[in-house]
């Protein structure tokens, strides 16, 4: 295992190891924080007891703690981490395919489609699929949007990056108007829609965890498989073709994969901006543009960032702020800083 990491580059093994340790530490720390403080050792004992099935470890631990940790906090924590990883993964892929460091998982209108789908479900009070109605509608909205954008952008010469970005913007604008219309129509219910749109990890269950982790694993598998092609495609499609890469096919597969991963994330958590844009950016200064390394490092960094933000709003701040607002409020200015630094020649990323 270590050999594989090392052949990717001298530091990658340590980078991934450090990020993994940071993430694990943050999960444990976060499990102890909240309305009910739980000590570090108690958290470890509960987690070990659950994982190994050894109830004897729980002797002397407050009987509420296992319930709070296993049924309330961990699902939320792990969902937040998985969504952060998923958004970062699809951010890397989008920036790579569109050859545009300003692309993010929502460039193709996935978030606007999800917003419209969720708003529709909330407006019409659709509950045929129980608690899954809103996420499913959001996912269907994303999927349909993706199909529309790809249809709009495709020409005889295939999908060009400029066409994709432009089509994404146009479709997003139309869908956003639709969301505004629904907000206007629902009157007093509008707060439910607004709350969903701003994103939240509140009341997540283990089903959410497995769903997002599953999407993340599938996405990681596919994107990892094509990560070398993604590198070659940075040299332009003509050169990539001469190096044996079927650019049209790879571009389509990666676009759909990354969009579906982010669609699952959005459906589960609402719209959370800046993670998918920021994380690949920062990590690229650490690993360079090699996508094989960038993907590995970014998923951990994304998980840490979003879990950190969620813990902050859940347990540290006096009032819970919607996570989407928090990431935009902190991520936005930070992005301005990075962008400005690049303009003045600090980071070479053009």
């Amino acid at each position: 295992m270590k050999r594989i990491f090392q052949s990717l580059g001298p530091d990658i093994f340590w980078q991934v190891l450090i990020l993994f340790i940071m993430l694990s530490a943050l999960v444990v720390l976060s499990s102890g924080l909240g309305y009910m403080r739980i000590s570090f050792s108690d958290v470890l004992r509960v987690v070990l007891a659950k994982m190994l099935g050894m109830d004897s470890l729980l002797d002397g631990v407050n009987s509420l703690f296992p319930v709070v940790i296993a049924e309330v906090r961990l699902p939320r924590i792990l969902t937040a981490a998985a969504v952060g990883a998923g958004l970062a993964l699809s951010g890397v892929v989008f920036q790579g395919i569109l050859l545009n460091p300003l692309a993010d998982p929502y460039t193709l209108g996935v978030s606007a489609g999800a917003a419209l789908g969720a708003s529709l479900a909330l407006w019409l009070n659709i509950s045929i699929w129980g608690i899954w109605s809103v996420p499913l509608f959001a996912f269907i909205g994303s999927g349909l949007t993706l199909m529309a954008v790809i249809y709009l952008a495709s020409s005889s010469a295939g999908l060009s990056s400029g066409n994709l970005i432009l089509s994404g913007i146009i479709v997003s604008a139309i869908l956003s108007a639709g969301v505004s219309f629904i907000k206007y129509m629902v009157d007093e219910q509008v707060s439910v829609i607004i709350f969903w749109l701003m994103g939240s990890f509140g009341s997540k269950t283990w089903s959410d965890v497995w769903l997002t982790l599953g999407a993340l694993a599938a996405g990681l598998g596919i994107c990892g498989y094509f990560s070398r092609e993604l590198n070659v495609m940075a040299l332009g499609s003509r050169t990539a073709a001469s190096l044996g890469v079927d650019t049209q096919k790879v571009r389509m597969i990666l676009l759909i994969t990354a969009s579906l991963v982010s669609a699952v994330c959005v459906s589960v958590s609402g719209i959370i901006g800046f993670v998918g844009l920021l994380v690949p950016h920062i990590m690229r200064t650490l690993t360079g543009p090699d996508n094989q390394r960038l993907i590995l490092v970014s998923i951990f960094a994304g998980a840490i960032l979003l879990l950190g933000a969620d813990t902050l709003t859940r347990a540290v701040l006096p009032h819970e702020i919607p996570i989407g607002v928090l990431t935009a409020l902190t991520g936005g200015p930070f992005f301005c800083y990075i962008y400005r630094k690049r303009q003045t020649g600090g980071i070479h990323d053009d």
Partner: protein, 262 residues
């Protein structure tokens, strides 16, 4: 090694770009493709590397239609040095050159000692070694072109295609890179197909010329036979003097201020 095109045509939509091209290219030869802007040279190159597929006609390599090869098999046979180059992410020069080894590597295999050795050797030869760790996005046009040239040589293919590969290089670097390619033709029996603008540079290196106009091959043959005043005038619409130059040890072409034929 032979490449054969039989009545190959291709158009962008309804606009024909290459019409009815039939050629036979052999190994151990340095081919030059010349012609005015927009005559279909680059499109022909795209057809040869199967970046585009002909609307009509067949291109075959070693007697087998190109369509029957996988993309990776084609990438092990044809390498391309393109004309313009924008690399959007800050890969180092060495990383870019190493990408030339990808067609020879398994998907999950990583470059080994032999790959590193080839990269070293060719980066030395092309003079790209001095900036191996610099970002390609920071290099000058000429430096970048040497990296791209090295990437194509590292691909180690029987056919090397240069699509106006030296158009932004100074004369010293242009001659040095063409010499490297020429040496491979003579020593290793490789095939070079060079799309060129500079007729005199073409006359120095090319053994066989293919002159194109409006998507058609209008003249082709050994350089000495094809390069004369009437073919230059018919293809490029300029009057020129063609003479045997002793210093160049090749035919050379000179123009004057009123060469343009209106």
């Amino acid at each position: 090694m032979t490449i054969e095109t039989e009545h190959v045509s291709f158009g962008y939509g309804k606009l024909p770009a290459v019409c009815d091209v039939s050629l036979k290219l052999n190994s151990g030869m340095f081919y030059g493709i010349l012609g005015p802007n927009g005559c279909g040279k680059t499109t022909l190159v795209d057809l040869l590397i199967r970046h585009r597929t002909p609307d009509a006609g067949i291109i075959s390599y070693q007697g087998k239609p190109l369509a029957k090869y996988s993309r990776k098999q084609i990438a092990r046979r044809f390498a391309l040095v393109p004309q313009q180059y924008a690399v959007n992410f800050p890969f180092t020069s060495r990383q870019v050159v190493m990408m030339g080894r990808y067609p020879h590597l398994g998907r999950f295999a990583f470059p080994g000692m032999e790959d590193q050795r080839q990269v070293d050797e060719i980066m030395e030869q092309t003079g790209a070694m001095e900036f191996e760790n610099r970002f390609i996005s920071e290099l000058s046009g000429g430096e970048r072109q040497r990296v791209i040239f090295a990437r194509a040589l590292v691909q180690d293919t029987p056919v090397l295609i240069l699509d106006e590969a030296t158009s932004n290089l100074d004369i010293s670097h242009a001659i040095s890179l063409f010499s490297l390619a020429f040496k491979r033709v003579v020593d290793q029996g490789k095939t070079v197909i060079a799309v060129m603008q500079d007729i005199n540079l073409a006359a120095l290196f090319c053994q066989y010329l293919i002159l194109m106009k409006n998507g058609r091959v209008v003249h082709h043959g050994p350089c000495d036979q094809v390069l004369n005043e009437s073919t230059i005038q018919s293809v490029f619409e300029v009057r020129a003097k063609v003479y045997e130059d002793i210093y160049a040890n090749a035919k050379q072409v000179v123009f004057n201020r009123s060469s343009h034929v209106p």
